[in-house]
Symmetry: C2
Subunit: 463 residues, 2 copies
């Protein structure tokens, strides 16, 4: 259709959208605007460079800028869109030189006033920022918002001179940063108001081995503890908490992801209860020809139908592809999400699907449950690792509705499996009778998923 497309945002969603547009409409005029110096690097890799698991930030770049040029995708770097004019179907750029970074959303952002760029189809993929803590002292230097790779390179040098770090928030990013800071050898503290790490997603028995391994790594954990102020003069020197002061050289802000919805909201796109842009299953906003994707959009949970926002880069990329394809005249649907998740934390991997025992209980969702402790390879094979699996199912149908896991390997693959299981209505009966590969170096005689399902059935008197 050779239309004029604008994509706002150069992250996974924006790049996914741009690729899909060019795939379906090769002659398209396509402009991508990003406030940053780069696109197509992996921000998710940043914690591991800080942690010295990865040796260089350069390795995080996926493509050179010439790659996009060759594809006919015109990316405007360091260019902030200041305003979206839905009536005129134009985006208005912010005047150059007025682009603050890493503010955690605290600074006043410049509005438009610069060049106006017309579009036929628009994809809003403005992503998220970590929420600034609502406490005194957030104007001090020494606070690190982990997100942009250029800033990460600068902060890595700051960390070279640091002795101690406080991670504010045992969020997913928090877990990664705690682990990487400890791995790097810094005195590492975590401050979180909940009773255990990742308490909004993970069950305490799943997180327990992680916390034990952090303790072994020297991490000092301050749970049930509120950060009350950042202290210092010019630069932070301590975090004031509900349980006393923690001296530190750097504070790493690992708060909630907050959708960057200002442009969308000011333009009049509908914003949902999570702060994310409301989209239909085709990633279409409430305005014809305008799409949204990634962390700035909200997506329904497959089971609860509640809107979710701030999922993974994989989700953002997939949403971007749907948004781009539909912008270019396609008709593709993004399905409700069951949210497989997983990460390395401390010396373990943890992960899950949908929700765990704590969340289901908090939401008042009834469930039956089965737990099993299994192993990843034959018991006698080198590097065998334990794997604990918890499965939650709907009481009558016994359909899988959630899972949580902690173990030494194979957590990602099992979470992917169980997310599909939840989506397609697979039951505990199915899982209890699943076949599994048995080969000593790669799989044990019994599969822990199956054992957990069998245990659940057994406790229900059904086996």
């Amino acid at each position: 259709m050779a239309g004029r497309y604008v994509v706002v945002g150069g992250g996974a969603a924006g790049i996914g959208a741009a690729g899909a547009i060019k795939g379906l409409d090769p002659e398209a005029s396509l402009q991508v605007f990003t406030e940053y110096e780069d696109a197509a690097y992996s921000p998710c890799g940043i914690p591991y460079v800080h942690g010295r698991e990865i040796d260089s930030f350069e390795r995080l770049f996926l493509q050179g800028k010439e790659f996009y040029e060759e594809q006919g995708i015109d990316i405007h770097y360091e260019t902030r869109v200041g305003r979206i004019d839905l009536g005129a179907r134009e985006v208005e750029l912010a005047p150059s030189g007025e682009t603050p970074f890493d503010t955690g959303g605290r600074a006043e952002l410049p509005a438009g006033g610069g060049e106006r760029v017309p579009f036929d189809r628009l994809v809003v993929a403005t992503g998220f920022d970590y929420e600034a803590p609502d406490i005194p002292g957030t104007d001090l230097e020494g606070q690190y918002y982990v997100k942009n790779i250029r800033r990460a390179m600068e902060w890595d040098k700051v960390l070279d001179d640091a002795r101690s770090v406080v991670v504010l928030g045992a969020s997913p990013l928090g877990l990664e940063m705690i682990t990487s800071m400890a791995h790097r050898g810094l005195e590492t503290h975590v401050v979180d108001p909940h009773p255990w790490a990742l308490a909004e997603a993970a069950d305490p028995d799943i997180v327990e081995p992680v916390q034990e391994s952090w303790a072994e790594m020297g991490v000092q954990m301050h749970f049930n503890t509120k950060a009350e102020a950042l202290l210092g003069e010019g630069t932070v020197r301590a975090v004031q908490t509900s349980d006393g002061e923690i001296a530190c050289d750097v504070v790493v802000i690992c708060t909630h992801k907050r959708p960057n919805n200002r442009l969308a909201g000011e333009a009049g796109l509908k914003i949902g209860s999570t702060g994310g842009i409301v989209v239909d299953e085709g990633m279409r906003t409430t305005t014809e020809g305008v799409f949204a994707a990634g962390d700035v959009a909200e997506i329904p949970h497959g089971l609860t139908k509640l809107p979710l926002q701030g999922l993974s880069g994989s989700h953002a990329y997939a949403q971007g592809k749907i948004a781009g394809a539909n912008a270019a005249g396609g008709d593709r649907a993004y399905r409700p999400v069951y949210v497989p998740w997983g990460m390395v934390a401390g010396k373990w991997m943890i992960g899950g699907v949908s929700f765990g025992e704590s969340t289901a209980s908090a939401l008042g969702i009834p469930f039956v449950m089965g737990v099993a402790q299994g192993i990843s390879r034959a018991r006698y094979y080198p590097d065998m690792k334990p794997i604990k699996v918890k499965l939650l199912a709907e009481p009558d149908s016994l359909r899988l509705i959630g899972a949580q896991m902690v173990g030494g390997e194979g957590i990602k693959e099992r979470a992917d499996f169980l997310a599909m299981a939840a989506r397609t209505g697979i039951t505990l009966g199915d899982l209890a009778t699943m076949e599994n590969v048995y080969s000593p170096p790669i799989g044990a005689l019994g599969e822990p998923i199956s054992a957990a399902a069998q245990n659940a059935l057994s406790e229900q008197g059904l086996l």
Copy 2:
């Protein structure tokens, strides 16, 4: 019900059956007969001790003999059942001292004549032997049938003095033994009549990296080559093949698994087309109160409904549990199989589900296919490994009917997933839109299963 139970066989199926019987009928009189000196060790671990990946045969023992005594399971070691008398409902033991081992089925086995043991319920779990090659020279010393742990301990000493080994048959065991012999540093040859390794199960493009890695390890591959005779005087000194002589000190026999069906057949139990005992979904044979499980039984393939025999130890154990539970008055069903499989071969893992391109084509089963080359972690994360996934689906419904994979990690877990997908009717559309965990140390942005499904849809003009 406190009945009298006899289990013939002390492998995974027999031990699974015994445990299930005692679980449901704790007061049962339960006798297990095994011709071997041990039960409850892992024969599947033997190749890895030979290969020096595992440091000792002792590690393969799962339980001491006292474990079964404590459970009230009376295991009779080194005791061969010579005859089953279904009319009298007795098993008749072979006279002691007449138990040949590791014959590959060549020797005349003693019939009954010893003690008679009555039963109310019988589980036949007599397992398999590797078929003896039908060529001259099989009476020579120096032929190793990998199965029994005591024999393996003796053969490990023989291997200490060996310089070169010929593996006869690139079967699943053959792949393990080729890899372990090369890893141990022996001059390793494989002779197989097919054009590539594991040709009856795996596609050539899946096996290709394995064969390349064997070449790097110094393995000498003789495909499209028939073994015509074993040469030597008293002890084997060479294998005569259709392509010349291969000098060797030891020949490892890795032929087909042949069900040990003599007892069952002579007793009058119905034997199927595979040579396995015919059972219903409750593992019941054609005779009331008599069950069969494991490698001696045949089980329908979930898609083709064709009977299969000689699956994994995990299958055998699960079947044994069903047989035992039903023998003790339960009513449980073993489902048709989709056969997830996987193993380490050379420097890779290979695996699959159901069947691949070659087998489907040979069987005349129509399919559409998608292939993707993916990665196991973020591209930049240490120890990232490639993973290739091939998916086969029914042309119209697009339901998954098979998969093949080769890669560096996560093959077992993906095969388990895809076996359940095939069983529950999951489609390429489902897999193309699957969610996946993205976290640099454990999973890449894109999941290769999803990419393969997307490629299949794309080739069909459906994406």
